[in-house]
């Protein structure tokens, strides 16, 4: 009666395929021809896709505990890091994952550039890739602020300050990004929305565009291959290239896992805007830019901040439009490969320079060491839950004023709290007294206490007769209830 399992299985496949087209989709995806066959050099794109997915998964779960507000962000990240099971590990995967994305991006771009894979009607693949690079850098920049610790706060202060160097629109742009003139909770909200909703949406779109254009033009193959009319025998993506991609992916995740486990991501002390000593240092991949910007101040800043990066960026973005020969061997393309090498070397050199300056200047070195020590100390401290606002805070405020402290004794001694509640929170019998200080002056309160109005008398409020100094203390206490 029942068909054998494999027949049932293939029947189910046929049923599913007739409704979803899944088989043809998979066939299309897996049979992608690679001229010249599979190569380790082609694994970086898949690696990036995997890393992006991993960032989404870890990010979504981190959001289960994170609160994007200047009041709570740091506490919640501290809670994730110190209290939640696997929290430090997941946060590590996410934080180190961003570094991994930058590294693999560099490898991906370098491979594409050296292989000349942007040639032969592949301008749009390259352009979409450039947009993705910008979006990923945006993710790194916005994500860095979210823990709201000292280094996040000050690095982002510097990062957003650069905007104000731009002519005409610089200040407006800075205020738009910060949600005001200063860094604050609105900045954090904006960065959160950019990091979690806006930029990822654009990344999804541009990954789709990038992959679609890539498949449209086909894989470029090795450097000797004709980028327009492939001559070499091709091999399908599945299985060999897929195995290589998977191997690379496993390598990344295992490496990330080991790093996140043995070197947990740190969290520094909570952002303190009044700290004038703190030396901001961005994440390593922004250090070269940070160092570069140090050299441009005053009248030349426009050249350094806008003109030079603008030209370099434009050259990189438009390279497939002017480098149009079909020659792909790097040694035959000295200009474009040379330009690329110069940019990479310059970035590396700037990074080293920054590192050397920090080491050689004893003042800087001491301050940076103090900051590292503060972070270590903070990491070792036990997590202390955040005290939420409530009646006890009002009581503490009351006790700060000795007159009010005496008033509290009178308040309880006269059983005022029997009806008005402890600390004046109110009960079913009588209204709360918190906030009376804002509604009435001391004199008005004294009059009402000595001679309650009709409504009060009807509610059962007796007249209060006290000595002058006691009355004053009681009023001080009542006015302190907030």
């Amino acid at each position: 009666m029942n068909p054998p399992p494999e027949e049932r299985h293939s029947r189910f496949r046929a049923w599913l395929d007739s409704r979803t087209g899944l088989d043809s989709l998979l066939r299309h995806a897996l049979d992608e021809p690679i001229p010249g066959g599979a190569k380790i050099a082609y694994v970086f794109g898949s690696g990036l896709l995997f890393l992006f997915v991993s960032q989404i998964v870890t990010g979504v779960f981190l959001a289960m505990y994170y609160v994007p507000s200047a009041d709570h962000a740091h506490t919640t990240v501290e809670y994730i890091t110190k209290e939640v099971t696997s929290g430090s590990f997941l946060r590590g995967l996410h934080a180190y994952g961003s570094s991994a994305i930058i590294i693999v991006l560099l490898l991906h771009i370098t491979q594409t550039f050296l292989y000349g894979s942007y040639k032969g009607r592949r301008e749009l693949v390259w352009l979409a890739g450039c947009v993705l690079l910008m979006l990923m850098l945006g993710m790194a920049f916005t994500g860095y602020l979210l823990p709201w610790d000292q280094k996040a706060y000050f690095a982002t202060t510097v990062g957003t300050n650069i905007l104000s160097e731009l002519p005409w629109i610089g200040n407006a742009l800075k205020r738009l990004l910060r949600g005001g003139t200063e860094m604050g909770t609105l900045t954090l909200s904006r960065f959160f929305v950019l990091h979690v909703f806006l930029i990822p949406a654009f990344i999804f779109a541009f990954v789709a565009i990038h992959v679609y254009f890539f498949r449209k033009s086909g894989a470029a193959g090795p450097i000797g291959e004709d980028p327009l009319e492939p001559k070499l025998q091709s091999e399908p993506f599945y299985p060999k290239q897929l195995v290589m991609d998977m191997g690379f992916t496993i390598l990344i995740i295992v490496a990330l896992g080991i790093i996140a486990y043995f070197w947990p991501t740190e969290l520094g002390p909570k952002a303190d805007p009044s700290d004038t000593q703190f030396l901001p240092r961005p994440e390593w991949y922004y250090i070269p830019v940070f160092q570069y910007l140090k050299y441009w101040h005053g009248s030349t800043s426009l050249i350094g901040i806008l003109l030079i990066p603008g030209i370099v960026g434009l050259l990189l973005v438009t390279v497939p439009f002017f480098d149009r020969s079909l020659e792909r061997r790097p040694w035959k393309r000295p200009v474009s490969v040379g330009l690329f090498a110069v940019i990479l070397l310059a970035l590396g050199g700037l990074g080293l320079l920054s590192h050397r300056e920090d080491l050689r200047n004893p003042g800087l070195a001491a301050q940076l060491k103090a900051q590292r020590d503060a972070t270590k100390e903070f990491m070792q401290a036990k997590f202390e839950p955040e005290l939420s606002g409530g009646s006890l805070l009002a009581e503490n405020a009351a006790l700060a004023n000795p007159g009010a402290a005496k008033g509290k004794e009178i308040f309880e001694g006269q059983s005022c709290n029997a009806c008005h509640g402890d600390n004046g929170v109110g009960t079913a019998a009588a209204p709360k007294l918190i906030g009376v200080g804002e509604k009435y002056t001391s004199t008005q309160i004294e009059v009402l206490l000595q001679k309650p109005n009709e409504q009060m008398t009807a509610g059962g409020m007796p007249p209060v007769n006290l000595k002058d100094d006691e009355m004053k203390a009681l009023i001080d206490y009542l006015r302190s209830l907030k």
Binding site: H9, S86, E386, N417, A418
Partner: protein, 198 residues
């Protein structure tokens, strides 16, 4: 995503007509074996990645379920010696700390320490079970008398008269290291039996 699909490419489903499962240019006799080996490798690979990510993610999600993240703590009422020679209820403010994930709330509530009929220490909530006013102990009358609607209770909280539906509520208490502790609790008003409110 590939894991399910790869299962179907095991030798059992070789009859499947899908072309991408057959090696297109592979004429070597061992080509089939090599392909299924690679498929198994891929399946193992996806499983490894999946598990590596899934385990911490699941543990992370289950943290509030497995670890106690919200709990009622025991609050100190006072040293046991202070209550040894008690002959009338005395009022104490206890601070109640409740942890709620990454935040905690601290509130102070008045309680009365008193003795039951056999002379054991008891802790009474000062909230009237009628409408929730704070009940004071009146020395002169040697009774708890609620100022709102004149509910009257004895020193051990037994209802003596007035509108309240039940005795004053007793709080769980224990003595630990010479210190009287209580677990503060709110109760529903106007019911005949004590009903704890979370």
């Amino acid at each position: 995503m590939f894991a399910n699909w790869l299962k179907s490419s095991s030798p059992r489903s070789r009859r499947d007509p899908m072309p991408f499962l057959e090696p297109p240019n592979d004429k070597a006799p061992d080509g089939k074996n090599r392909r299924s080996f690679l498929a198994a490798l891929l399946a193992a690979g996806s499983a490894t990645v999946g598990v590596l990510l899934a385990v911490p993610v699941i543990r992370f999600t289950l943290h509030p379920v497995l670890a106690r993240t919200t709990e009622k703590s025991w609050s100190d009422v006072g040293k046991i010696q202070e209550f040894q020679s008690l002959n009338a209820p005395i009022k104490r403010l206890v601070s109640i700390e409740e942890q709620d994930g990454w935040r905690k709330t601290l509130i102070e509530k008045p309680v009365y320490v008193s003795k039951d009929t056999r002379g054991g220490l008891i802790v009474l909530s000062a909230v009237c079970p009628h409408l929730g006013c704070t009940v004071p102990w009146l020395e002169k009358e040697s009774k708890f008398i609620c100022p709102c609607h004149r509910g009257v209770f004895s020193a051990d909280g037994t209802l003596l008269g007035g509108p309240p539906p039940r005795n004053m509520d007793r709080l769980r208490s224990k003595i630990e290291g010479g210190i009287l502790k209580t677990q503060y609790q709110f109760f529903r008003q106007l019911t005949h039996n004590e009903e704890e409110l979370a």
